[in-house]
């Protein structure tokens, strides 16, 4: 494989993969916290809506959702999404639904006395969430979030089927150009492995940091 192929296809591809991961993770985090907190809401109706969202987006396949947003949505609403953003939307919405379950689980795992103490101090529901529940729940969310983030990184490979020029798509082009599949596909797998390794390390550091704020040490 020549340097030109690396420079023009593979490296920009890696950059697109990183961008996709960051944008989708940001959207997924927003969805996860929004829907996850809504699932602990007082009102039954809000809980139902949030639960409905989670079941629908966890129920369908991310790739089918991506195709749907790309091919079906434009004629329905009358505007077309750039493939990159259709991909971010699909990944963010579906992985957000998985994240919502993590948020809900961690919020429910905070000792009930903490919530009661918040009520006794007459904190508003929002203050209770922000000052009492979240600071204790967030460190618990980080290990499952780490796994989810690696899943999301792996999910970004799906965009190559829509023609977005990520590293998997670059691999496909390089394969056509060089007629040597083993080399480029091995290299691509290693790229993903290294990125995933970086994510795992970063999240571990973040976990240690947030737990230290609570006075807990992580091995």
């Amino acid at each position: 494989m020549t340097a030109g192929l690396w420079q023009h296809w593979v490296l920009p591809g890696i950059w697109i993969t990183v961008q996709l991961t960051v944008y989708s993770a940001a959207l997924a985090a927003a969805v996860a916290f929004g829907i996850g907190m809504a699932r602990t809401h007082r009102s039954r109706f809000v809980r139902f809506l949030a639960g409905f969202y989670t079941e629908v987006f966890r129920g369908t396949s991310a790739l089918v959702l991506m195709f749907w947003l790309f091919f079906v949505l434009p004629p329905l609403v009358g505007w077309q999404l750039v493939p990159m953003w259709a991909a971010v939307l699909a990944l963010g919405l579906s992985y957000g639904a998985y994240g919502a379950e993590i948020v809900r689980g961690a919020l429910n795992a905070v000792a009930p006395a903490q919530r009661e103490a918040g009520i006794a101090l007459s904190l508003t529901p929002w203050q209770r969430m922000r000052l009492v529940l979240l600071p204790q729940a967030v460190p618990e969310m980080l290990p499952p979030f780490c796994n989810l983030l690696v899943e999301l990184l792996k999910g970004t490979a799906l965009v190559s089927l829509l023609g977005v020029g990520d590293v998997s798509f670059a691999a496909y082009l390089v394969r056509l150009a060089t007629q040597d599949s083993a080399q480029i596909y091995s290299a691509t797998l290693v790229v993903y492995f290294v990125l995933a390794f970086g994510i795992t390390r970063g999240m571990k550091a973040l976990e240690r940091r947030t737990k230290a704020n609570l006075g807990v040490t992580v091995k």
Partner: protein, 225 residues
């Protein structure tokens, strides 16, 4: 028969749905076939990995850990292309369907390995000690003491991975296996109507996955007792 369904002048064509049905059922069949064979491979290969992860020798543990970690943290789609394009270069020729089943089974075996390991590790240490104290032979220790307790945790977790696997079967469309998504793409390509087939397939996944997840949750509750 068409009627206008949206503000933007879009329409939903029921006849396109009926026309899609023969292809749809063919796709369902292939999807379920992939799911069944993929599960079989992942359940059995996962057990092999799990035993390797628990092996007394570091010479076995280390490579197994490295290989399973690598497979688990890299995308199934790229692995699929790897097997699809590289195996023929090495002289191994499989059909797209076989390649897809192998890839999905291999990928998920690294998850099921963790399930088996966690299930076995969760059996309290006292159970092993009790088995030793009663001087049970090794196979009795496993079959009568450890596995019956581990199964409670293992079965629901495996169920969850089967559901994830179902939702990953559309990836096989990437190597042109005629599963649900690929059938809907072909239908769209021949009729220029993508809306109906893709929507039907999307809903079909929810209709299979949601009851399945309820079933797994019920199983979880029942076995937890």
């Amino acid at each position: 028969m068409t009627y206008s369904a949206g503000a933007a002048g879009s329409s939903w064509d029921w006849s396109a749905v009926w026309d899609f049905m023969p292809r749809f059922w063919d796709g369902v069949l292939v999807t379920l076939q992939v799911l069944a064979l993929g599960s079989l491979i992942s359940f059995s290969l996962g057990l092999v990995w799990a035993l390797g992860l628990r092996a007394p020798s570091r010479l076995v543990r280390w490579p197994v850990t490295a290989v399973t970690e690598f497979i688990r943290t890299t995308p199934l789609l790229v692995q699929l292309f790897f097997l699809f394009f590289v195996l023929p270069e090495w002289g191994v020729k499989f059909s797209a369907l076989t390649t897809g089943v192998l890839a999905i089974g291999l990928h998920y075996s690294t998850y099921t390995a963790q399930v088996y390991r966690a299930g076995i590790d969760a059996v309290p240490k006292g159970q092993w000690e009790a088995a030793t104290a009663l001087s049970l032979p090794v196979h009795r220790t496993w079959l009568a003491v450890i596995l019956p307790q581990a199964v409670r945790r293992i079965v629901p977790a495996l169920g969850n991975y089967v559901i994830s696997m179902l939702k990953d079967t559309p990836l096989l469309a990437g190597i042109s296996v005629l599963e649900l998504l690929q059938q809907s793409r072909l239908e769209g390509a021949s009729t220029f109507q993508y809306t109906e087939p893709l929507t039907v397939v999307g809903i079909a996944f929810i209709l299979i996955a949601y009851p399945a997840s309820l079933l797994v949750r019920a199983l979880e509750r029942r076995l937890a007792r």
